[in-house]
Amino acid sequence: MSDANPLDARARMIARAAREITAGMVVNLGIGLPTKVINHLPANLPVCLHTENGMTGIGATLPYERADRNLIDAGGAYVSPIPGSAYFDSAVSFALVRSGRLDLTMLGAFEVAQNGDLANWKIPGKFSPGAGGAIELAQKARRVVVMTTHTDRHGNPKLLQQCTLPLTAQRRVARIFTDLAVIDVTAHGFELCELATGVTVQEVTEATGAPLIVPDTDIPTF
């Protein structure tokens, strides 16, 4: 529903994305929106959060007053350890990513193509700060999911037939969480899995820049 509160829609998206994280996983949450997922994880869920600047076992984000000057995540937020945390250097940190020990990464996106291509690091002429760790996260995590608004601030779709921007990785995105829907990337393209509360199939179809497979069955809502 176009008149739904966008803050509610965002919170629902984050809460739904958080359920993607299940017991036993090692997870890297990308800078920005994905990091917010932390606050929606059940307190006793056995899960290991990784940040590429050299830590496993990320605990709560800390305010200025309680921060440790030497303890940040890759986005620069001050974080805290939990019992069993470990610190390591940048080579070990990406060894973990590249060698298949990262079960899941949740990334932001500029564009996702219906074949799973991801563009999230460069807008030529406008935004070229360097890829940081995005390429390795997208290329090597066992499962890559994206969390993003369904359209950009001008209303243009971010889910496309083909990416127009420089790629982060080819054919790696498995699932997309947006403010409107949960969409899987299948061998046949985008497939609608779930709808945000109050959003219609037609709204999702119209906001998507590629064909959307809609199953015959009931579509769950979140």
Partner: protein, 230 residues
């Protein structure tokens, strides 16, 4: 959030290893060799194994027991001079041995653990260790491509651990253990002391638990681990 618990028993952990597995085994001489995991592997009798280990231990100890028991098909190693049984197994063709320069074996394992495909080095150029190896030219120099090594299983001996699999090592028992603990999809650590989560300082951890799959506390240290009287 809390961290997953990976504690198990020596028996259950070793039972996950199939026949034909490629197994990395930590240790350099006695320090760091997972003798208890090896003895359980002898007891369970998995066959046609490929072992990757710095050395072949000494006669009657460590992987020599696997060789003597006919469980080993191939050994990738740097030096087996302290094990006369292993040398005679090599000479009689009972096992195949691939030798590698010691630091290059370490780097090949580390490359496997780091998700790299290979390293490029000049080590071994001009020696018979260079024979048959892939060559790449860089800046006008011919260099050797040494492929990354991964295994199906890594057997690790650690000093202290927590249930998530964070590990520390004692003195020179570190050697190949932290490298091998990154280079297999199934990493099994036998540990001398298992403490609760939080018992290890995050700075002290030498192998992050995210690389480790199974942690088994040793109920006792057999004679294997003791000081060798020479």
């Amino acid at each position: 959030m809390s961290l997953p618990d990976k504690t198990t028993t020596i028996e259950a952990a070793v039972a996950r290893i199939p026949d034909g597995a490629t197994i990395m085994v930590g240790g350099f001489g006695v320090p760091g060799t997972p003798f208890t995991l090896i003895r359980e592997l002898v007891r369970q009798g998995q066959k046609d194994l490929t072992l990757i280990k710095n050395d072949a231990n000494e006669t009657g100890m460590g992987i020599d027991l696997l060789i003597a028991n006919g469980q080993v098909k191939t050994l990738i190693s740097t030096h087996i001079g302290l094990n006369a049984n292993a040398i005679s197994a090599l000479n009689s063709g009972r096992i195949r041995v691939e030798f590698c320069a010691q630091g290059i074996l370490a780097e090949r394992i580390r490359a496997g653990g780091a998700g790299l495909s290979a390293i490029v080095t000049d080590i071994g150029l001009g020696t018979e260790l260079a024979e048959g190896k892939q060559v790449v030219e860089m800046h006008g120099k011919r260099l050797l491509v040494e492929s990354a090594l991964r295994a199906d299983v890594a057997l690790i001996h650690a000093d202290c651990a927590d249930p998530f699999g964070n590990l520390t090592y004692a003195a020179t028992a570190r050697n190949f253990n932290p490298l091998m603990a990154m280079a297999a999809p199934m990493v099994i650590a036998e540990v001398e002391t298992l403490g609760p989560l939080g018992s290890l300082s995050p700075e002290a951890v030498e192998t992050p638990g995210a690389f480790v799959d199974h942690v088994a506390e040793l109920s006792e240290l057999s004679e294997d681990y003791g000081i060798v009287r020479r």
